[in-house]
Amino acid sequence: MIRRRSVLLGLPPALLLASATSAEAALSGMAYTANEKDNTISVIDLAAMKTVKTVPTGQRPRGMDLTSDGGRLLVCLGDSNRIDILDTKSWKVVGSIDTPDPEYAALRQPGNNPLYVSNENNALVTVWNIDTQKMLVQMPTGVEPEGMAVSPDGQLIANTTETTSMAQFFSYGTGKNLANVLVPPRPRWAAFTHDGREVWVSSELGGTVTVIDAKTYKVLDTIHFVIEGLRSTFIQPVGINITRDDKRAFVCLGPANRVAVVDVPERKVVSYVSTSSKTFNATVKKYLLVGQRPWHANFTPDEKYLLTANGLSNDVSVIDATRLRVIDTVSVGQQPWMVLISPS
């Protein structure tokens, strides 16, 4: 395990964490990290709070998704040019989709079908029938598509293109490109609010999160992050996780080694005439220090905890999502890119 410390930036190491107190609810279930560097998936038993199994994969596992019952894990293997479907009990590969340079894939819910894939090298979003493993349609995107989100009603697909710096919207039914919204440079991720009204898009180089109206495609707000003593260029937002009530979001800030807690107590959207007229009221409540370079995180099913995949310290930080404290750290494989948690 490599644990590099940014001594010169004055960042304390990720290990200085408060220990869990008895008052905190017990964790259960399993979590999975895709470890980009050593080509494995780490299986974490959350009750024991440790990695209990390491599953070898193809080359460069990054994006993952789970079927709604948690029985199948889909892993994008960028350098093997395929997505493997693994059984989460036997850890056998039960299916494969050959598709060039997949970075991230998301299943449409409910129904676990079809599968939307960002093919980063080919400027394409491809859509697959997961049962027959046949491609249904492909949609041309900007340069380097990565982030992918499907609206809660399954009708709208949002994709981010890193080099083109756009959030792109496609219709589920027709595959038609509906809108392209320019955002600050290198958008990495898109997340719908649970009411389906907003899409939040992180810009890694811009250092911002753009909130876009999912009906009008107008920009509602641009959220900035300021951390005292840290240069703005190290604040690189990537993963976004929004609570079910849509009132709080956790944003992974990459090399800032922190997760930002963004609160949206109420939305009073009146007009979009001017960006200066504040119609959307998001405030950053807190920055939580986690391991090094968190890119993606996920909630436990009860939303009581958030787990972050820390790419440079090769571990997972466990955040108490109510008390907003980091309570534990679990070692995983090399360069975890993403973490998913079983539904039960």
Binding site: E120, P140, T233
Partner: protein, 412 residues
């Protein structure tokens, strides 16, 4: 003089404003395309390309005839992948100029077509001539090739943007790493070419700034020769140790050899068992075909698919120039060169270029600030500068090269 363009898939537009150029050109062959219902308005970027013979000591590093130009072509395709969603189209009009031909005539031919943004990889003296000729026409020149600091300093011009890092930036990038490694004692070796003398001056400056000590200097006397000679290597094995003999104790041999005369021969041939850096060994550069960090793999893959060879630093500098134009056009939502340049020079402009921190323009001299890779002679990337601990009040990228308080450039 040969003029080339990217493969045209659409018929030329007619009746469009001359200022936008007359060619509708889509993305390059092999890259994904989507036919538009109506042709989008097109901005043509010029490229004055230096077609010349360069002899490198290493056979595999002989530059391709389209070195640099291919980078701009891939950037045009990237611009169009973006532009197809924004009703913007981009084309490249490249003019190849040989050593005995006049780059200003080539530039004027592009200006006559209404082209106002021109990339070039010509040497510094030609870049200056072109900038002077371009100024009355409101034409901006993007310098992708010349590293001379004088072009950014005493000879700076308001219509010059430098995507090529300067000698001082490259020297500072290497110096920071050697200091980080605590290898502060340098033996400086430089050649006879005027470029070598400037590069040596950049290393002396970097040593002073970052606290290194040049224990001795050696000048290598010898002209550019034929790369390949059948001596069985015995000459080199005899000559190079003697060149580095009797030096005071040093950590690293820093070589300033811009024309590939001798530096490539230094590794493994020094009198003492020492590392080599600078023009051989550990090389500071704006790009390396092995760089896969920060999404660089996608850039490399796109380039290889297009050009069927690896992407050089010159390709990257030209890619940056054409992508700066495309990115500024996206955000300014305009193909008007004046609006594009105004956005590009503004405080909001950032270009992601696969080196971690985004690129932007130093408003005081037109230099593009950028991270510098340290390459193990094109085998692997060893590190990237700025190094940890070298801080700056504005951006750590401004620890590389001439900073605002020191600049001799006065742009009116």
């Amino acid at each position: 003089m040969i003029e080339t363009r990217l493969p045209t898939k659409e018929k030329p537009l007619t009746g469009r404003r001359a200022v936008l150029g007359a060619f509708a050109v889509t993305a390059g062959a092999g890259l994904l395309q989507q036919a538009a219902a109506a042709p989008a308005p097109t901005l043509t970027i010029g490229y004055v390309h230096w077609l010349h013979e360069v002899d490198t000591l290493s056979y595999i590093f002989q530059p391709a005839p389209n070195d640099g130009r291919a980078g701009a072509e891939v950037a045009i395709a990237d611009n169009n992948t973006t532009g197809r969603f924004l009703n913007q189209n981009f084309a490249l009009a490249a003019v190849e100029v040989r050593d005995n031909e006049d780059p200003v005539a080539a530039l004027n031919a592009l200006i006559a077509k209404g082209i106002r943004l021109v990339i070039t990889d010509r040497p510094a003296a030609d870049v200056l001539k072109m900038a002077t000729a371009a100024a009355p026409h409101g034409v901006t020149i993007f310098n992708a090739g010349a590293a001379e600091d004088s072009l950014r300093e005493e000879d700076c011009r308001g219509n010059l943007i430098h995507t090529a890092p300067s000698d001082n930036m490259l020297a500072d990038a290497l110096a920071q790493y050697l200091i980080w490694k605590r290898w502060p004692r340098w033996l400086l070796a430089y050649g006879e070419h005027p470029r070598d003398l400037r590069l040596a001056a950049a290393y002396r400056r970097a040593a002073k700034i970052f606290g290194a000590h040049i224990v001795a200097e050696r000048q290598y006397k010898g002209k550019v020769g034929s790369r390949e000679t059948d001596t069985g290597l015995i000459d080199l094995q005899e000559q190079l140790p003697v060149f580095t003999q009797n030096a005071p104790n040093y950590d690293v041999l820093v070589a300033a050899d811009d024309n590939s005369v001798f530096a490539g021969y230094l590794p493994y041939r020094t009198w003492d068992a020492r590392l080599v850096a600078g023009s051989a060994g550990l090389i500071p550069t704006s790009w390396d075909p092995n760089s896969e960090e920060w999404g660089g793999r996608q850039m490399q893959d796109r380039f290889v698919a297009y050009a069927h060879r690896f992407m050089t630093a010159l390709d990257m500098n030209a890619w940056v120039a054409a992508r700066m134009v495309g990115t500024a056009a996206s955000y300014a939502q305009s193909l008007d060169p004046d609006k594009i340049m105004a956005y590009m020079r503004g405080s909001d402009f950032q270009l992601g270029a696969y080196r971690g921190l985004s690129l932007s323009i130093r408003e005081w001299n037109g230099q593009v600030r950028q991270a510098i890779l340290l390459s193990d002679s094109g085998r692997l990337v060893v590190s990237v500068s700025p190094q940890p601990g070298f801080l700056h009040q504005r951006t750590v990228l401004d620890t590389l090269g001439t900073d605002k308080p020191e600049t001799k450039c006065k742009l009116s």
